[in-house]
Symmetry: C2
Subunit: 352 residues, 2 copies
């Protein structure tokens, strides 16, 4: 009996991460940040794994970014000690948890409204130490973020006046031409900005062109996915996570059914993309995963000359890898096709 | 300090189940099945909770349906003892696990191809007992299932000839006019069909009109969801699971941001439905959750006269409740707005 297990021997469906690709992706992004004098603060939402967060910091990241407190708690428990919550926290529950975190690690939080300011201030007062605040502005995403320079200046003044808070700068997502303009306007108003945090893997290679940005918040670059290949920000060889699946039925000549549905791949499509379907069958690029049930992936083979056989194992590049890791309690990590470990996705499902 | 916790005091986002509604839904479906002499074999994919599976059996269900072996293992561990795997199992891993299950509980499996037949037969031989097989046919879903009566008859003959297997009947999803025809053709060929298993909550109230069907596989009826309301199979009052969320930002007059994104609600839309967005804000029915990030729900308020305030708690009826429970490690169960328990979603993420 062999001591090694090939990834092709794993029961499917299963997400498999190639550590060589991960390491290359991490080094490349850190090298880019270093070359341009940018701080790198990776977003852990993609991998949700303390070990990869530690690897990112070991390579030179200044700290990590988390969206939710639950993610930050997992990471702090694992020894990560400089964490930005890039998300408005609202209410006494969140204040209490942020305070508990701030007592043991360096915490910052982004805010875009007075209630979030109040929550973070309460946490700082409870923790007995100042919490750094970034004011989030809208650079075109129309998600969170204040919409005008005036609103930002008002919030900044309120942060400066609040007990328990320290104004550290600005945050936005994604980095854009509007970012440059906004940052300049705030500086022109006489505000010092130690940190201007921009984000997004798709345009990460252009971060140094966004005047004023000091810090990169990027997540997906560790694994990459079909969306990033679609926009030209990654190649197939840069994609570290593939879902291995099995053809469990071939009910018609032009149809294969895979043992992975929306519970494995998610229902995310490529936004505004030309690529159809719920993921790319890397060995059958002309096949289309055109429908998903929760546990079934329906593959249209009509445009695919080669057709996978019943029982065959196939590999799928997910459209959006962050939501895929969130579906799985564990990922398999591998090198050269050999299993190196099965890691619990510790910060999975941490929506609070 | 009070001994009770109101659901309105829970940290958000959080899925909250109303036990009164669940009990009403379970009784109603069992009553329908009993009234029409149909066996009820609920699909646990919706709730994924051993306690609700036990409640379904206590009310009269003949057993349960699971899609994957991992779900069946959780349910068998909890004492459920009559389980149908409504899914083609392929390969030696699956055979071994099915055999282990068959040694301790009554197992059946659906097949639609020779490799699945071989897998189940191997399990029956390993377990030293016959495993009941249902042959799946396609009644219009174009998912799994044999496409013709001839193929079904061939598979049935192979099942009857195989060691370790017992032919128990047919299975399809959903029940339809094509179901009636197919079943009649198989019977006309002289095949005895102890079980004909049909499925689907949307048309469950018409199951007794589908001649030949003996057993109902339904799942979603326990909670119901926006899709079922859309097709007229449930009312809002029949919906047992709502996601409670908080307005964490109001960056523009017509836009609210919720603390629930695709990691909380999933990206499932209403199939071919008239209702837009990623869920229904039950107290703001004219608001539209028109975009999701992983942790943000973007709400378009332009057509909503009433607009939720920053910090306000809101309740969301999910489009597709089965994938929502699969995202959460726990659900809160409640009665009259008071928390009765926090239950681990034991069969969550069991994709293998």
């Amino acid at each position: 009996m062999s001591d090694t297990l090939a990834v092709t021997g794993l029961e499917t469906p299963v997400p498999v991460v190639d550590l060589d690709v991960v390491e290359r992706n991490l080094s490349r992004m850190q090298g880019y940040a270093d070359a341009h004098g940018l701080a790198l603060r990776p977003h852990i939402k993609t991998h949700k794994l303390p070990r990869f967060a530690q690897a990112q910091v070991a390579l030179g990241a200044v700290g990590i970014t988390c969206q939710k407190l639950g993610e930050a708690e997992v990471m702090a428990d694992a020894g990560l000690d400089d964490i930005l919550i890039s998300y408005p926290l609202i209410g006494p529950h969140k204040a209490r948890r942020l305070a508990a975190l701030a007592r043991r690690v360096t915490m910052r939080a982004a805010i875009d409204n007075p209630l979030a300011l109040e929550t973070v201030a309460l946490a700082g007062q409870e923790a007995g130490r100042q919490i750094g605040v970034l004011v989030e502005f809208d650079s075109g995403m129309h998600r969170t973020g204040v919409g005008s320079v005036d609103e930002a200046l008002t919030l900044i003044a309120q942060v400066r006046a609040a007990d328990g808070l320290r104004f550290d700068g600005l945050m936005t997502y994604p980095s854009s031409a509007a970012t440059v303009e906004f940052v300049r306007a705030i500086k022109d108003a006489g505000v010092d900005l130690p940190i201007v945090s921009g984000g997004g893997t798709p345009r990460a290679a252009h971060a140094h062109e966004i005047g004023g940005v000091t810090e990169m918040r990027v997540g997906t670059y560790i694994y990459n996915d079909r969306t990033l290949v679609e926009v030209g920000a990654a190649t197939l060889e840069d994609c570290a996570l593939l879902v291995h699946a099995t053809v469990i039925s071939r009910p018609a000549g032009d149809r294969a059914i895979l043992d992975c549905g929306s519970k494995t791949l998610s229902s995310d499509l490529i936004p505004r993309g030309a690529s159809a379907g719920y993921g790319l069958l890397v060995d059958y690029p002309d096949a289309v995963i055109d429908r998903l049930s929760e546990e079934h992936g329906m593959v249209d083979l009509s445009r695919s000359g080669a057709k996978p056989a019943l029982g065959e194992r196939v590999r799928i590049l997910p459209n959006h890898v962050c939501v895929v890791t969130n579906l799985h309690d564990e990922v398999v990590v591998s090198r050269n096709g050999i299993v190196e470990g099965i890691w619990p996705v510790a910060a999975r499902g941490m929506t609070r």
